[in-house]
Amino acid sequence: MNEVLSVRGLTIVFPMGHRTIRAVDNVSFSIAKGESIALVGESGSGKSTIAFALFNNVPQPGIIESGEIRYFQGGNFLEMGQASQRQVFWEKVSMVFQAAQNTLNPLLRIRRQVEDIAQAHHVNKKVAIDKARELLSTMYLDPTRVLDAYPHELSGGMKQRVSIALALLLDPEIIVLDEPTTALDVISQASVLKILNEIRRQRNISLIFITHDISVISQVVDRVLVMYAGSVVESGLVQKIVRDPSHPYAKGLIGSIPPLVGDLSDVHGLRGNPVNLLSLSGGCPFADRCPDVMTRCRTDRPLMRQLSTGNAVACHLYDAEGEEVRT
């Protein structure tokens, strides 16, 4: 397996007055060339923070407390100098941002912004513009019109597609997509996902989706990591997770998706509110909302276990099964 990214024991904390919030707690995962994975979880589960950590750009006042991020089996990215980091940015790893509408400089035409990226990475401007034209066409956009437009002259969906085109500009090997379809209507969602899937097949690039909506991306990802309160609670192949989730939180998450056909009475939301990261105790973070909570869930943190189904899960319900996974 050709590993393009490996994250080990990533922990990100946010100091809040006297206390610190562990927004990301000891998360590990890796992704192979051409593979597509998804980090799924509700708001505040730390998935976007991980996306920014991949660029060593955690929003203030967050601090990466510990962990390693290695691209292409190289050295720890977090310990590299700024110059070497900048080489990895966009050329090797690029990103489609959440609310991509606001990620373009409002004062410059798209053409200038393409040229600025080209210049920063020592690419010939004309080559970059030609490349951008080709990419914009694959996104079903009129290249000349878009290149000569200011961001405010484009619609939200168009800006989203421009943002994806920019992400592909330098032929990266990994693209991080933070809620790439959230701001789009259902039809644009489908077309954007279709485009992404085609590009992935053609160029054999790896995709990392960050999303709260497992149903939308289930067609385009291979593996899913379900996150809760900053840790991965279950991971496995997407079909396994969707059809047969093991962790009570994953069960609840899947069970809360309304079916396209069938009775809505089968849909159940998760009870309770997302956990307050300030009030986490030593036990399982999901204990307060878990329908199957046991005594030891309140005191012992469950460790990741590899199940016979192929999924890995961090839950005391499965203590008797499988074996512990080193993280």
Partner: protein, 325 residues
């Protein structure tokens, strides 16, 4: 086409506001003509003789109905004539203004430039170091400097630098030993004399620039496109360019409006330093009810503010593609 329309609107506005000031000025208590008339009558002239004398001296007919005066003023104005001073008999208002304008123009231009440069630099520094004590120091100094009125700052500087330390001259625009003109001793003497008034102007203006620059820089720093630009691997110089162009925009309008001050000067500062600029001219005119001079000064200010606003609108559209005039 739009610009033609806007220019016409601006012209109409200038006309309406100057007409209003014509009447406002005459609503002030104390009529200099009546004063002069009484003076002449006390010297033994008859009322008719006094009126004739005034008409010869000032080209003003005493006790003329206000509307008639207004009509005459308008006719003169259309000929580009602002009338002549009542106090300095025979001197045209235009000449008085042209004599005073360069002092104010140069001093305020330097002061304005200085306060914007200092304000923008401090604002950006304060935004970058917003978690450090440096930022709160800058903010507090800026607020205090902005809050203290110009005449207090002016008098304090005057006291410190001329009474206590004898570093700078206490008034005037140039020394008595130099001849005004384009020669080095005069220019040096002028610069030496304008340091205190200019510095007072900077001290009272840079604070508000600092605070607004800080807030707009922080807003821009937190924008998604700045974060995106970092992750896209843009070099630091490019990032500063993105930051600068976006955060300086909100200050532009304020800057253009300050251009109005360029032509009106600051009454307080110029009075404090006995600086022979427009502000001083206006203050003297107001005290002696010199109607034509007051009107001339007001019209100058009105015209600059309105033209600067028009210019700001037009230029803003050039700077920010989102704005469409």
């Amino acid at each position: 086409m739009k610009y033609v329309y806007r220019s016409i609107v601006a012209l109409v506005m200038i006309f309406v506001i100057s007409s209003l000031t014509f009447f406002l000025v005459r609503l002030m208590p104390g009529d200099p003509i009546i004063f002069l008339e009484t003076q002449l009558e006390q010297k033994g002239m008859t009322a008719q003789q006094a009126a004739d004398q005034i008409q010869v001296m000032l080209n003003i007919i005493p006790h003329q109905p206000l509307l008639e005066q207004y009509r005459e003023w308008l006719v003169q104005l259309l000929h580009g004539n602002l009338g002549q001073s009542i106090q300095q008999t025979g001197v045209s208002v235009r000449k008085l203004i042209f004599n005073a304008l360069p002092w104010t123009l140069i001093t305020v231009a330097i002061g304005l430039l200085g306060s914007y440069v200092i304000g923008i630099v401090l604002g950006v520094v304060s935004a970058y170091l917003r978690r450090s004590w440096v930022s709160s120091l800058i903010d507090n100094v800026g607020s205090v400097a902005h809050a203290v009125p110009a005449f207090v700052t002016g008098i304090a500087l005057l006291y410190l630098f001329t009474v206590v330390w004898h570093v700078f001259p206490s008034g005037g625009a140039y020394g008595i030993t130099v001849t005004p003109g384009f020669n080095l001793p005069f220019i040096l003497s002028f610069l030496y004399h304008m340091i205190l008034p200019g510095f007072t102007y900077v001290l009272t203006t840079f604070g508000s620039v600092t605070l607004s620059m800080k807030s707009s820089t922080i807003t821009t720093l937190n924008e998604d496109f700045m974060m995106a630009a970092r992750i896209r691997g843009l070099p630091k110089s490019k990032l500063m360019q993105y930051l600068g162009s976006n955060s300086i925009l909100p200050l532009f309008t304020g800057f253009m409006i300050s251009l109005g001050v360029l032509f009106s000067g600051s009454i307080f500062i110029e009075q404090t330093f006995q600086f022979p600029g427009i502000g001083n001219l206006l203050a003297t005119a107001v005290n002696s009810r010199d109607y034509p001079v007051m009107e001339g000064c007001f019209m100058l200010t009105i015209a600059t503010v309105i033209v600067a606003n028009l210019l700001a609108d037009v230029l803003y559209a050039k700077l920010d593609p989102r704005i469409n005039v």
